[in-house]
Amino acid sequence: MATTSIRSSKNNQPNALFDRRPLNFDPTLKRNRINRVLTSIAGVFGALAVLPLFLVLLYVLFQGGRLLSPTLFTQLPPPPGLDGGGIGNAVIGTILVTLIASVIAIPIGVGGGIYLNEYSTRGWFSQFISFGNDILAGVPSIITGVFVYGIVVSTRLFFNQSFSAVAGGLALAVLMLPTVIKTTDEGLKLVPQELRWGSYGIGASKFVTVMRVTLPAAFTPIATGVVLAIARAAGETAPLIFTALFSPFWPEGIFNPIATMSVLIFNFSIMPYEAQNELAWAASFVLVIMILAANLIARWISSLSRN
């Protein structure tokens, strides 16, 4: 096709260095047809990728939203076979366990990230830590549950208690730690070196520089990562099944088994009772709203620096 058009143009204007024919787009060309087919395939793939989100959200909002009432948050789940009830204990439990995990993981993670970026010489030790951090991020969440079961639950480490909210919090903390370290490290990398030099130049010590200059400058990316890590931890179930276990009662302190929304969804979804299944949908609704809100907050935080 192309060769013929060149030949014909040469016949028309033998002296012209370049072909003067106007730019034209021939949609019947094979390459253009293939192009259109592939573009529409990509469009279909994109639609397929987005479809599950709509379907899941639709069902969670409809099935869970219609059960939304004040009693949902003030009552305990009913015994099997009975109707009504709420998920009050599980809401408190999720907040408590996630809080314990955050209190453990955020300081350690931010500290570790500070070490990696501010103090380490990028020698073998910090490379080993970064590598280990990536590996830890890839450890399946159920394994962290097995790990915490092995060192805390089966050994009755805390006050001779086996399953406890603290054990669940520890398992979630192991999950959160790599994310927090990674985002802190990456966030600090974005801070211009001149800021640190300026701080040293006016006589600040390294500690003061990190605390008053570098960390505040990297606040936005770190906060975004931390909020996302908290949101992810709040929805995790696998590490909690045999660490925090479940409890049909109100929380009895952090050294006792505790109900969480995620484990409640798991336990109640496989029960053959209508009331329990409905509570599972309601808990999904609350959990999804909380997590989506956290995600939107994280996006808002990260947009702060751009403006």
Partner: protein, 322 residues
């Protein structure tokens, strides 16, 4: 003149080298050491995970040896354990789900990064895929039990009617099974693959793109022969990472795979994975069953560890020079 020298002397006094007080130095080194300890936590946790799981598994490793990998009985009464069903299920569900998710994810990433659609629509698609990643796996499992599985069951039975002669489809779909588990895994790894592919495609230098269009190729010519080859190492790394994620994914799979202890090659029949076996049995197990479960956990860890190390190696070593 005298006044001038006086001010210089004053200035010299003001800017005399001041030594830091010991307390400040202590704080400085103390904080350094503290952050070092915090960074070491990663190594300590990682090594103790391996140690705890491995010591827990030692009894079962001694008892069953390597035959554990190839036998398929799981019998708490006679205390005979073999993890073949779970290992097979883990590999089959994760690999098949990736075969579906990789074209979907990379296709979506291309759609988001190329200027096929207006930017607002592309950003919206990107945001929605990210939000899909945020939905907890237990909620996806709940949705899979009550909505997805009943909805796709007729389609799966149609598959059985057409392809029933092959061993992979020779049972009817009657509820939970491997096929729904594979589909829910697709939903779970899709956002990861899309996000990593999108980052990889965005990092391809714009000159490469312009060069490709400059020599007169079409959009898909540029994508297939220039842009994708330039991004292939990062995409492959991302695919390996999501393979590790798919292998270790627990909740949604546990809720929909049926947790059968019997081996069945059919994808429409109930199956099991290592992670779902752990989730189901670990809480109530005692004696050597705990050890056998720990042994299965060791296998899962070795699988995900290998895949993750391979992923990092691919990203570091196989990056194209352009």
């Amino acid at each position: 003149m005298p006044t001038d020298s006086a001010t210089t002397a004053h200035a010299a006094d003001a800017y005399l080298l001041r030594r830091r007080p010991p307390s400040e130095k202590l704080l400085d080194t103390g904080f350094r050491q503290l952050s070092l300890v915090m960074a070491s936590t990663v190594a300590v946790v990682l090594i103790s995970i391996f140690l705890v799981v491995f010591t827990g598994a030692r009894e079962a490793i001694g008892e069953f040896g390597l035959a554990f990998l190839t036998t398929s009985g799981w019998d708490p009464v006679n205390q005979q354990y073999g993890a073949f069903v779970a290992i097979y299920g883990t590999l089959v569900t994760s690999i098949l789900s990736l075969t579906i998710a990789v074209p979907l994810g990379v296709g979506t990433a291309i759609l988001i990064t190329e200027d096929v659609l207006p930017k607002t629509i592309r950003d919206a698609v990107g945001l929605m895929v990210e939000l899909l990643a945020a939905i907890p796996s237990v909620v996806l499992g709940l949705w899979a039990i009550f909505v997805m599985e009943p909805a796709i069951r007729p389609a799966l039975n149609l598959l059985h009617a057409w392809l029933g002669w092959s061993p992979f489809f020779n049972t009817t779909a009657q509820g939970p099974g491997m096929a729904p588990a594979i589909l829910i895994l697709v939903v779970m790894v899709l956002p990861i693959i899309t996000a990593i592919s999108r980052d990889a495609l965005n990092q391809v230098p714009v000159e490469l793109r312009q060069g490709a269009y400059g020599v007169g190729t079409t959009r898909w010519g540029a994508i297939f022969s220039v842009i994708l080859p330039a991004a292939v190492s990062a995409i492959t790394g991302g695919v390996m990472l999501s393979l590790g994620r798919a292998m270790g994914e627990t909740m949604a799979v546990t809720m929909i795979i049926g947790n059968s202890i019997n081996f069945n090659i059919s994808l429409l029949a109930p199956g099991n994975t290592i992670a779902s076996m752990l989730a189901n049995q670990f809480g109530e197990a005692d004696g050597i069953q705990v050890s056998a479960l720990m042994y299965a956990a060791v296998i899962l860890m070795i699988l995900t560890f290998t895949v993750n190390v391979l992923a990092q190696w691919i990203v570091r070593r196989l990056s194209l020079r352009y």
